[in-house]
């Protein structure tokens, strides 16, 4: 039976096996061949900013990367992917890489920024605007450090630094043992995002007593900015401002709940988007309110506009104005009240007014109040920063770090949010505002009167949870679309305290866009282990030698055979 079966089998194969072999195998091979190989390491990379503002391109213009990795010490960098760690990153090295026409730059950042030495953080923060200031042709990526990535970096570093110094034999040995890495991104080329809508939110508290009440506008922009959108969490700038604004909304909504405590001022709260892109949200909001509608709170009697920007740390408060307020104006009153509150209740806080004229020749406006100033609305910005050029306002280092959470009173130079400072600032602003809207000084109230105490006090937990939530995800303007959770949660919180909460969208003009964003900001990068071409040749020589030895061994198998025979023969004779 077995015989029969195998005969049938044999006949079948005899006729058809070569055919199937010839047809089937190549087909399988072709089908299977484009499968991607498993990567040695796969990690997420965050691309540097890419945007156009008023027709001016900024950031990197490229997203595709497929080159071999080198560290910056290597002699030849052209068309190589230069990888650097934050620890040994410097602007000169970055420039050197770009000058040598490197194919790409990957900067490895530590998982926890707060572990970095402060001078390096400071240095990097100051470099960020410079990296973005000019357009870069090659892709620039940021990656968060992990063990694998660190080992890749180290291997690349040893490979790169040993070049050119060793002898030929050493180099040969090195090619066999060392690994090169081919860095490949999976995404497509970056392209402009069309019809991107920046969302801003407004809400109001209506005052009591008469038709034409003056309005106080409180403004904070919610978006964050840094060298890489996906890494910009913007804790201090401007998570602190937004959480402060929401806390003010909560406090004043309690006062405005009762007719008796309602003041003779309307309060208009505005959370603006696109604040880091020349205050696009504010600009459109003003246009909508002033040019297109007939009746709006902004059109009639605006007492002043107070912008909140970066208020989460530091021992000082600065009121930035474009022109010094005139005596007797509501603006001047607020300034005086702020001074009173600070001097009477918080004497350790340094308060000052900073005067800077609007420079229309600049590419970007310095502070948000200048948007209002251009439209002839009395406005100022309150911030703990003394200059709009501070690197703090546009850095990826501005994260809510663990040490700030503990609030142990340690002194940190880097950007962070101190809850105590934030709630103190909230208290100062709230008290001063209350003194303005209830006209307390004129009514003869004592200077150290505290309104927001006990039931009405500033809730630190509330502020803390707001800051935590705001810094839980990157809020770069390119990432917050109109359906994102940031917008909907902000809307929910405003809706809890305020009336008439509305969303405003800004879309760039199709013909002559004021701002253009680009996609592919977050990608997966693969590092493939590769060997240089010389290694292949070396391997080929070795294999050829091995095969030669094999050939000789098989050819002279008879020798072994006869040796074994000679060994075994005498024993068999003894049988």
């Amino acid at each position: 039976m077995f015989e029969e079966a195998s005969e049938v089998f044999e006949n079948m194969l005899k006729s058809s096996f070569p055919l199937t072999f010839i047809v089937f195998l190549p087909a399988v091979l072709i089908l299977v061949s484009p499968l991607p190989a498993e990567a040695a390491h796969e990690f997420t990379v965050y691309r540097m900013q890419q945007y156009d503002l008023q027709g001016q391109p900024y950031g990197t213009r490229n997203a595709i990367l497929n080159t071999e990795a080198r560290s910056v010490d290597a002699e030849v960098l052209s068309r190589r992917c230069v990888i650097m760690r934050l620890l040994d990153f410097s602007y000169e090295k970055y420039q050197k890489a770009l000058r040598q026409s490197a194919g790409a730059v990957v900067i490895i950042l530590p998982q926890n920024m707060s572990t970095m030495p402060q001078d390096i953080v400071q240095q990097f923060m100051e470099m960020e605007p410079e990296l973005l200031a000019t357009e870069t042709i090659v892709p620039v990526y940021f990656a968060l450090e992990d063990e694998e990535l660190l080992s890749i970096y180290k291997q690349t570093h040893t490979t790169s630094s040993s070049q050119g110094s060793a002898s030929a034999a050493e180099v040969l040995l090195h090619t066999a043992t060392a690994n090169g890495f081919q860095m490949v991104t999976s995404g497509a080329q970056s392209k402009a995002v069309s019809d991107w809508a920046i969302t801003s939110l407004e809400g109001r508290l209506a005052g009591e007593g008469g038709e034409d009440l003056p309005t106080i506008v409180l403004v904070a922009h919610y978006d964050s900015f840094g060298v890489a959108p996906w890494l910009s969490y913007g804790a201090d700038s401007n998570g602190s401002g937004v959480s402060l604004l929401l806390e003010l909304a909560r406090l004043f909504s309690r006062l405005y709940n009762y007719k008796r405590t309602r003041a003779g001022y309307n309060l208009l709260f505005f959370v603006s988007g696109g604040g880091k892109f020349n205050y696009q949200g504010t600009k459109r909001w003003l246009e909508d309110n002033l040019d297109h509608t007939d009746s709006s709170l902004l059109q009639d009697n605006v007492a002043f506009v107070l912008c909140l920007d970066t208020l989460g740390s530091g021992g000082s408060l600065h009121l930035h104005v474009s022109k010094p307020p005139k005596e007797g104006s509501p603006q001047h009153t607020l300034l005086k009240e702020l001074e009173t509150v600070v001097s009477e209740q918080y004497s350790d806080v340094r308060f000052s007014m900073v005067h800077k004229k609007i420079n229309l020749a600049d590419d970007t406006l310095a502070w948000e109040h200048e948007r209002f100033g251009i439209r002839r609305l009395p406005a100022f910005t309150l911030s703990h920063l003394d200059s709009h050029r501070s690197a703090l306002r546009s850095t990826i280092m501005d994260v809510r770090s663990v040490s700030a959470l503990e609030g142990e009173g340690e002194v940190r130079d880097g950007p962070h949010v101190e809850l105590r400072t934030l709630s103190r600032n909230t208290k100062i602003i709230a008290e001063a505002l209350a003194r303005v809207i209830y006209n307390l000084t004129e009514k003869g109230a004592p200077a150290d009167l505290q309104i927001f105490t006990e039931q009405m006090q500033v809730q630190e937990e509330q502020l803390s949870s707001m800051v935590d939530w705001l810094t839980a995800q990157p809020r770069a303007a390119q990432l917050v679309d109109k359906d994102s959770s940031v917008v909907s949660t902000l809307e929910y919180h405003l809706g809890r305290y305020l009336k008439d909460v509305k969303k405003h969208y800004v879309k760039a003009d199709k013909r002559d866009p004021e701002f253009v964003f680009y996609d592919q900001l977050k990608q997966t990068m693969n590092a493939y282990r590769v060997k240089p071409a010389i290694f292949d040749l070396l391997l080929a020589v070795c294999i050829a030698a091995y095969l030669g030895v094999m050939y000789l061994a098989v050819q002279h198998f008879g020798l072994l055979y006869s040796v074994v025979r000679r060994v075994t023969q005498p024993r068999t004779k003894q049988h």
């Binding site: 077995f2 089998f9 061949s33 190989a37 493939y528 391997l539 050829a544 074994v564 075994t568």
Partner: protein, 225 residues
């Protein structure tokens, strides 16, 4: 890594087979089709083995890192079918012992090479990523050629009617070693936590020892009468 690397691996894997075929004089016997038939039998036997394994051996669902000793042993026992298959091939061919052994082993090993290493090499060694495992795989194929020649020889000796009584035991032991070699290797690697290069070396040494033993027995048997 590149097509060149694939070429390297391919040469390393295939040339020893070619050399063996040419130098063992099989080409002079026009044994090509006989080898192909042996390969076809290999395919048939593997299919049967797979069906059997799939039917009777449920997938091991133990925790990761736990070595299922009994299960693996039972699976290795199924490799006894290889012996039957080799015997089947050799019984179909008439001729001298060496010729039968070589045809069966060559066909068998080549079929295994084509079926189980060709595609991984094509897919893997051509990719961007460099890994030593393709070179190791090619070396491994050289080892398995030696292994199958030894195994075929042992099977041939075992099935001879004129096998002296004193030979019965060593031949049976060798047969068992041949069948359970893969299992033993796995056990070795598991127990001593060997690296890939060391385990390859151990495999080479083990295979060398088995084949040397079977060469001894073979020569003694052939030249004793």
């Amino acid at each position: 890594m590149t097509l060149f690397h694939f070429g390297n691996c391919f040469a390393l894997a295939y040339f020893p087979y070619f050399i063996t075929y040419k130098c063992s004089g099989l080409s002079e016997y026009n044994a090509f089709w006989r080898c192909v038939q042996a390969g076809a039998t290999y395919l048939f036997v593997q299919l049967c083995k797979m069906l059997f394994l799939a039917t009777f051996f449920p997938t091991w669902e133990g925790g990761a890192g736990v070595y299922d000793f009994v299960g693996e042993f039972m699976k290795a026992t199924v490799d006894l079918a290889d012996l039957l298959g080799l015997h089947l091939v050799m019984s179909r061919n008439a001729g001298k012992g060496e010729y039968k052994i070589m045809v069966a082993a060559m066909g068998w090993a080549t079929a295994e090479l084509v079926m189980s290493r060709c595609i991984p090499l094509w897919v893997g060694a051509r990719g961007i990523e460099f890994d030593w495992k393709y070179i190791q795989m090619s070396f491994d194929s050289n080892i398995s050629l030696v292994h199958y020649i030894a195994m075929a020889a042992v099977v041939w000796m075992f099935t001879r009617y004129d096998l002296p009584k004193s030979f019965r035991l060593p031949v049976t032991v060798l047969l068992g070693l041949c069948v359970y070699k893969a299992f033993l290797m796995e056990l070795f690697v598991h127990v001593f936590v060997l690296g890939s290069w060391t385990s390859l070396l151990v495999k080479a040494v083990l295979t060398g020892a088995i084949s040397l033993c079977s060469l001894f027995l073979f020569i003694t048997l052939v030249h004793s009468n």
